[in-house]
Amino acid sequence: MKTFTYYPGCTLRTKAKDLDAYARSCAEALGIALEEPADWQCCGGAYTTAKDEIATKLSAVRTLNAAKQAGNPLVTVCSACHNVIKQTNYDISRDEDMAQKVNNYLKLDEAYTGETTVYHYLEMLRDVVGFDNIKSKVTKPLKGKKIAAYYGCLLLRPAKILAMDNPENPTIMEDFIKAIGGTPVIYAQRNECCGGYITMEDKAQAVKRSSAVMNSAADMGADMVITACPLCLYNLKKNSGSQIPVYYFTELLAEALGLKEDTNE
């Protein structure tokens, strides 16, 4: 059994409990042990790219260091946490000035300079568990379901840092859909932004963006849309006006592995 340090993040403890619960039950069924650090903090939701921003990067470094101390790779499910933590890890391993300032703040026993390997849960499924292995464990395949993978912005970009998939022609979620027995739907807006946090500032813009995504998926005949991000799920459900159901990818994985009752949809 392979062990990962698991960072749930703020929203998986509150509005996205399903994303978290199914991630945990599926990992267990797939032979992955998830260990949650004792006192993690919210990642902040967005990576601050500015070089003179130090305090906003500390919580991500604390999480990275917790995994280093435990001797594990780190895995996250939420697209935003994944993006913040991977970008922080990339910069602290390359930007000596930033690394020094961060470590001056944190006063760790040993300086943290990017030692931890960070995975998104989907990467863990692909690279550690293996999609073929998942396929062999599926007891309730999502046969005949046309599933549109929504990558959004944070899962893939910036590609040189996240190093997860081709940012313009990704396949990881489609390969995941195939592994659980569904039929992937390719549509134009799958890697364009849903509007994200702009729903707080300008609802109309969030409505416009999320509608564009859902209309694009509907045009290609999607029965459902899957995402890894709680804010994407919110925008696609609440702001798009679309009736097509939107699920967390972990929920469909749990369903396929027989760990959940049918959604009846």
């Binding site: 509005k15 967005a46 500015a50 970009r157 946090y197 702009i198 707080m200 500032e201």
Partner: protein
């Protein structure tokens, strides 16, 4: 032109604005294009010219979604989103210039709004 402000934005963003060849791809791919008074390619150009106060006083700084589409798709690796971020920080770091206040939050909430939206908005709009 405010020379110190320009230097601060260049240092904070880490961007070399001189690499821009003005092809406009960043603005063409920007999901907030229609909502912006000044567009990503104009941010790069106006920072180069030192016309930063104009950008700081425009609502455009609060329209960037930080989706990294312009960063990914720029053929010259200019990373315009980092320029927008640095200008926005220059604005909200000024005393009394927060764009979002905790007292506004209760009216914005609905039962499904994820915490992620709130923390991200504060990271973007306030210091």
């Amino acid at each position: 032109m405010n020379k110190n402000l320009k230097e601060q934005v260049l240092r904070s963003s880490g961007v070399n604005v001189l690499k821009c060849m003005r092809c406009g791809k960043c603005s063409g791919t920007c999901p907030s294009y229609d909502e912006m008074e000044y567009h990503p390619h104009q941010f790069v150009y106006m920072v180069e010219k030192g016309d930063i106060d104009t950008l700081m006083n425009s609502n455009s700084v609060y329209k960037c979604l930080t989706c990294f589409a312009c960063v990914e798709r720029c053929p010259r690796g200019v990373e315009p989103a980092k320029v927008v971020e640095a200008v926005r920080l220059a604005a909200v770091r000024q005393q009394g210039s927060n764009h979002l206040s905790p007292v506004q939050i209760p009216d914005m909430l609905d039962e499904d709004l994820p915490q992620q939206a709130i923390v991200t908005a504060f990271r973007k709009y306030a210091k």
